[in-house]
Amino acid sequence: MTEANPYPSEWLRGVLALAVQRFLAAGPTYGYAIAVGLEEAGFGTIKGGTLYPLLARLEEAGLVTTEWRAGDGGPGRKYYALTAQGRAAFEADARSWTEFAHRVVDFVATTPSTSGGPS
């Protein structure tokens, strides 16, 4: 864990695809904007070598479409957009994740008894 990455990387690995899809649910955008948005949302710094392969896998799975667009004075940007299948998958995964997260919070928030394992 570092200041740039406040949570263990294995936690992030589990949730990164969902977080990226959540970002794309707001509309088509490009890689750097996603990286900045995730950082601002508190996920820490996401390396390009992690983010773009993930986006490529989402594209291959048919959850995302891509399009190169001309940049404003700079090089072109590759825009990513959720497909209808991607949106449906995101909504289903978001529901499952929320349920899972509540279970985790409920479980870890409960003070364990000091008597040990199940009787």
């Binding site: 490009y30 890689g31 750097y32 990286a35 390396k47 390009g48 070598g49 992690t50 773009y52 392969p53 490529a56 896998r57 291959e60 190169w68 667009r69 001309a70 940049g71 700079g74 090089p75 072109g76 940007r77 590759k78």
Partner: protein, 241 residues
């Protein structure tokens, strides 16, 4: 630190671009896939102001993380490489037959077709396909590759020389026509069906299309005919013995 920018991917260091290109080529990525991978990093670094190594890690790590689809590596599959080798096999056969024709013309005899020639043809094409297929081994282990490659090549040529048993003797006019057809056919086949020279292509709008390699591809497809004409003209006009 002194860094040299790449002339096209201007947000990136030239060395990092070269390393990624090489590593992806070793993985069998097409020029289109390599261009796409580099354009993504270039666009990201131009916006973030970061160096590629900082944002994407070492070149080899990034190249290893690039997600390649089946279509990105199809041109480097064994089937595609064997398909691409057929025109070369025909051209090499035509060149060899043409040289045999010149020899037969100078000695006023029929043209011998030997088993050794078949071994040489197939062996050289097989070594060429193997070299392309295991390009990563060649790059990462150059000395070992050179030793093994030279030994195999010498073995093939040695077998070709010592295997003098003849399959047939063909009259000179027929053999000469066959050689000409094979050489021209190889060039046409390579031009029509052979793979275009695979160069790195930037997919971004407005990026210049790579053009310089077209002439190279054209020359490569007609290489056996060009070599035969050059070498043949030397052999033909140099008195034998």
């Amino acid at each position: 630190m002194n860094t040299t920018r790449h002339s096209h991917y201007t947000a990136l260091e030239r060395r990092w671009v070269d390393d990624v290109t090489r590593e992806l080529a070793i993985r069998g990525a097409s020029g289109r896939a390599i261009g796409e991978a580099l354009a993504i990093v270039d666009a990201h670094c131009a916006e973030s102001g970061q160096e590629a190594e900082q944002a994407f890690g070492p070149a080899a790590d990034y190249a290893g993380s690039v997600h390649l689809r089946a279509s990105d590596t199809e041109a480097h599959s064994l089937a595609a490489q064997v398909r691409a080798a057929w025109p070369s096999l025909l051209g090499l056969a035509g060149m060899l037959l043409a040289f045999r024709c010149i020899d037969a013309y100078q000695t006023s005899s029929a043209v011998p077709i030997r088993w050794g020639d078949l071994i040489g043809l197939v062996g050289i094409i097989a070594l060429s396909v193997a070299a392309v297929r295991w390009i990563g081994v060649l790059i990462h282990h150059p000395v070992l590759s050179w030793v093994v490659g030279t030994a195999l090549f010498t073995g093939v040529i040695g077998l070709q020389i010592v295997t003098t048993a003849e399959i047939a003797r063909v009259p000179l006019p027929g053999a000469a026509i066959g050689a000409g057809l094979a050489l021209v056919g190889s060039g046409i086949w390579g031009t029509l069906a052979g793979p275009e020279v695979d160069v790195v292509r930037d997919p971004r709008p407005g990026a210049p299309a790579p053009r310089a390699m077209r002439a190279f591809g054209l020359v490569t497809n007609w290489l056996f005919l060009i070599l035969t004409l050059l070498a043949g003209s030397v052999f033909l006009f140099v008195p034998k013995g």
